[in-house]
Amino acid sequence: MDAAVTNPPAGNVEDIEIQLLLEALFLRYHYDFRHYARTSIRRRLRQARDQLGFPNFSAMQEEVLHDEDMLSRLLDYLTVQVSEMFRDPSYFLALREKVVPHLRTYPSLKIWIAGCSHGEEVHSFAILLHEEGLLDRTIIYASDINPAALEIARSGIYPLDRIATFSRNHQLAGGKSSLADYYTTAYDRAVFDKKLRAKVVFSDHSLVTDEVFTECQLVSCRNVMIYFDRPLQDRAVGLFRDSLTRRGFLGLGSKETLRFSEHADSFTDFVREEKIYQRTDA
């Protein structure tokens, strides 16, 4: 690694190995990480290599081709699962104050949470919609490519030591009740009320390889596209555009923007500081 770090690194052995490994994952399992942002995928693959004890990526490739268990271990490195309930509370406050009044005008609602990870964002939405009296008429589609993450999302169980942060965020997001109303504790776990998930459809869906599957009024896709390169971001934003109804809303992560997207013209800023966009009439 040391001497190879030169500029520009064309023909760099590590780069070649990474490309081959990603190609192998795609051919064998149809998981497509070939257009993820290079710098962070390289970083996480190096972590996987070191922590799983491989001498290099070629060895890792051989193992994952022949052993399916290695795939799920690798997926945990390739997909970043860091999340929080009501992450960036000001985003949820803006949804509550500025977007909910529009959502109220629909007799029924569909919301797509893309890249839902362990479901923290799904539960945040369900609680917010419940507090605003909209949950009963809403279907939430929650999708991710990591099956283990989706399993946790379905269970609605989180370590108790995360609850203080979740509660604080909920209050900052304009929470109209106490977060404690929504979970019970068992040992060191908080188990969230299954009524929150009654209208949630969890599904394995990739923004890279899969197509649009529903029409919805709101898409929330936060901190997922930072892991994509530009062309892949364009593909994902294209899916969101095709999925949104006229004047539907798109919410991104706090440091994500449509400014660099080829689909920028299909959206206008709705709450600029919170990266909430509205689909223009096409």
């Binding site: 040391d2 001497a3 770090v5 030169t6 500029n7 520009p8 690194p9 942002a37 290079r38 710098t39 962070s40 970083r43 996480r44 970043v80 860091v82 901190n223 596209m225 930072i226 892991y227 530009r230 971001q233 992560g253 706090s254 440091k255 994500e256 923007t257 400014r259 660099f260």
Partner: protein
């Protein structure tokens, strides 16, 4: 240092960062030719830092969005709770990966990615701090042929971070804040 301007400057600072950066950044002219990427660990949100320095600097001071193109005359502060990295094509890459050495943003993460993007055309500056973040990354920058300046631990507000960087980097130079600022200004004049 050969005197030729690098393509980018990366700076890491922790405890005492605001004071140290105040001795350096406000001295740079608006048309400073080299982009500067900064990771600061602070209890307060770095967005406050961006506002603070935007008010007292001639160079542009921003908290970048993902995929923004790195431009001269601009200081980029890592956004709160995101790692700040550079892609080889010269754009900003942010990530919410786990903290490294309890820090997100992490100085090591920025330095490592910058070493790979800019190779020998990179200058790193390690300022005051009470941890070891930055030492590993500075060593990688040196290995890739870049240069490393370190705030003199003897006069730094917190010596641990500069001392750790000096211990890992054979060719790093320890300088006062004033001399670091002079050095950066010199690059602009070249």
């Amino acid at each position: 240092m050969t005197g030729a301007a690098p393509r980018a400057i990366v700076i890491g600072a922790s405890a005492g960062a605001v004071q140290a950066l105040s001795d350096i950044l406000p001295r740079l002219p608006a048309d400073y030719p080299v982009p500067i990427l900064v990771v600061v660990h602070v209890p307060a949100a770095p967005s406050g830092l961006t506002r603070l320095f935007a008010a007292k600097c001639a160079v542009a001071v921003v908290e970048p969005d993902d995929k923004e193109r790195i431009a001269p005359g601009t200081v980029y502060f890592a956004p709160p709770a995101y790692h700040l990295m550079v892609e080889r094509e010269g754009t900003i890459a942010l990530s919410t990966d786990e903290p490294v050495l309890f820090s997100r943003p992490s100085i090591d993460v920025l330095f490592e990615s910058a070493a790979e993007s800019f190779g020998p055309e990179l200058l790193a500056v390690v300022l005051t701090g009470a941890n070891e973040d930055g030492a590993r990354g500075a060593a990688l920058i040196e290995q890739a042929g870049g240069s490393v300046l370190v705030e003199d631990p003897a006069s730094a507000y917190a010596a641990t971070m500069p001392a750790a960087a000096l211990a890992r980097c054979a060719d790093a130079r320890a300088l006062s804040l004033d001399s670091i600022a002079d050095h950066l200004l010199g690059l602009g004049a070249a």
